[in-house]
Symmetry: C2
DNA sequence: CATTTAAGTTGTACCATACAACTACCTGCT
DNA sequence: AGCAGGTAGTTGTATGGTACAACTTAAATG
């Protein structure tokens, strides 16, 4: 990584303001991520973060298999197996055997699972909406566009 | 919070575009948080997320106490105690008794701890810098300002 | 058919965490 | 001074999420 460390001794191309903006973005995004984690925990006291994440995945990808979840979230199949079993025990997901391949189990949200997810989404949305309540529409648009631009184009995390 | 649920039946003030922007922001921020979590895990294989967070806190607040960490991150004191003990065992933090109060232990990064943190920060910064490399300075400024505005004013998470 | 490969489960171990009980210490009050 | 009550931190114990390894069942492949 030969990014020649622009912060120390920035002679000519010293766009310190640019650096400062990048650092602010980094700090604030990280702070958000940290807070989101604990907020998620508080939001679903009974559901572990992973359970909830898996549930969300099932909403977006109904009929997916345990191995998809394991691959997508870099979890061991045993972990997924137990999490899915717990979710089934809780009545939030259903499993049925794939007639074409008796090894795989097709996973789906139950209505209770969908309801739990919806309720959580509602709380989360209310939180965001409250936070952004007094923003001008123009700023919302730009902020959304920036986030899309920032996220859109892999490289930072999994996926 | 009487936000009278604007999504269902939005008769006159139905600013759907505004809603869409909020939803995009929510989705993208959440996606970022999710990816950041796994990225952090990949970045510090040897350091747990919490250990790393505590280490970072010690960098910003040298000389703080275990109870500060527990309060700030909503962790039990026993958890902090064990984590700090592990960090000390790893040579990343040092403890010394407060002469004014023999109950408390003043915590500080060791040079090894600071180095580990710096290295991690470097990787992280490189990641952000790469992501934002082709952004115009004006956009960076605005994005940073939006994030500050979004985060700045409690209510979403702890703190 | 036999071997290999794949999907899931179960046994085991480890780590982070919470709660509760405990130690050591400080503070305030009488 | 001395005791009551609170505080900082540790340790015992239990739980939950996770990985790894061994296993089961079934599909694919030779």
């Amino acid at each position: 990584m030969n990014t020649d460390t622009p912060e120390s001794a920035t002679p000519h191309r010293g766009d310190g303001r640019r650096e400062a903006a990048v650092e602010t973005i980094q700090r604030e995004m990280t702070a958000f991520a940290r807070r989101a984690r604990s907020a998620a925990a508080r939001m679903h006291p009974e559901l572990s973060l992973v359970s909830f994440t898996l549930l969300g995945h099932l909403e977006e990808h109904p009929g997916c298999r345990a191995r998809d979840l394991a691959a997508h979230y870099a979890l061991d199949k045993s972990t997924v197996s137990r999490q899915v079993a717990a979710l089934e025990r809780a009545g939030l997901v259903g499993r049925r055997a794939d007639p074409a391949d008796h090894r795989v189990q097709v996973l789906e949200l139950t209505s209770a699972g969908a309801a739990a997810l919806d309720q959580a989404a509602e709380i989360r949305t209310a939180m965001f909406r409250g936070r952004l309540a007094d923003w001008a529409g123009e700023d919302l648009d730009r902020f959304a566009a920036y986030l899309l631009r920032y996220n859109g184009r892999g490289g930072y995390g999994e996926h």
